[in-house]
Amino acid sequence: MIFIALAAETHAPGFFEQFGVDWPHFLAQLITFLIVLWVLKKFAYRPLLDLLKEREDRIAEALQKAEQIEKDRAKAEETRKKILADAQAEAQRIIDEARQVAQREGDKQLQEAVAQAEQLVAKAREATELDRERMMTELKREIGRLVVETTAKVTGKILTPQDQQRLAEETARELAA
């Protein structure tokens, strides 16, 4: 190396001599410096840089984990909400259905009752009508008989069957009117 050659061979009175530079002292200082370099590299830089790297990795990992946990939590919360909403919707649906069924059932029963009532009323009316007709028939017959009897008593003559027939028909006609 040019500089070392210069350092060793300069004979110009004394730049290096003046500053006390010579091989033994130069080498002694060089070796000391290299030893310090080696020790620092082996015992300080390498372990400390490795440690710093490890710590950096760990922190990054921890942050990532925290993020993952937060993500999971948010997801769970969402699921929880969804389940809750689903349950609510389901409950609502069941209630609505039950209400509808009840409504339908109630309607049906009412209709049946109404129909039954109507039927009863109709039957009653029918029965009443029949009764009335029968009563009317009986009444007509009775009135006819009374008319004939009364007529016979009043006139004092025995009515012929033709007369009786005529009277009954006449009475019935009068009554119907």
Binding site: H25, V36, V39, L40, K41, P47, L51
Partner: protein, 268 residues
Amino acid sequence: MATEHSIPTFAEPLFNLGPLPVTNSMVVTWAVALGLVAVVRIGTRRLQLVPSGLQNFLEFVVESVYGMLESIIGPQFVRRTFPFLATLFIFILACNWTGLIPGFGTIGWGETGEHGFRVLKPLLRPTNADLNMTLAMALTFTVLWVFWYYQAHGAAGALKHLFAPKGGMRGFILVVLVPVFIFVGLLELISVFFVRPLGLTVRLYGNIFAGDNILEAMNHILPFPLDVLTLLPFYFLELLVGVVQALVFMLLCASFTTAAIMHEEEGH
């Protein structure tokens, strides 16, 4: 005499360790190195995912420097260059601030003159006030720069990156400009292997050496209780210079590196 108070430009040998004369700045370098090793070992002995205490502080330093370098060099290349560049910053800063501990330059061997006791050979000298230290770091960077440059471009790519004409020119213009580009490449080589390392070396050395001198000078301007007044502002200034120079050294290396590897990404 003005020179009487000034600190010498070179680190002075204190004693011999075998064949090696041990200088006052080397003592401090070793102390700083040992201190850094101890702090790092204690701080990272039982690493916890949830940090506390010293581990927390070390993490803060490493993370801040890493972030700064990543924003300059880019995430792709920073892992490879970070250990060296961060060590530059941490080590230079530790050295600079250690050099400000009272006692540097004032405890040592000396003699008693007419103005009282003068320290001529201090026991401790700021590490980066030794050109050997700053030169060692600058040249280490140059070697690593070559390595990273080679990694980013390959041998052929590196030569092309240095010398080949850029901008897609053709014909006559190209022929004219080829020598220019070759010349520019040579300038680049001079810059990489001479100017930049020299700049890094001398900038750091000069700042710290000058700071040490200023503190020494301010210490002697006024007699004892009053010298605190002159000393204190410069002490805080030197605290600032210590961190700024550490940053400057690292950031310059980072930007040289970025400029060298950037074309790789642009080309693809």
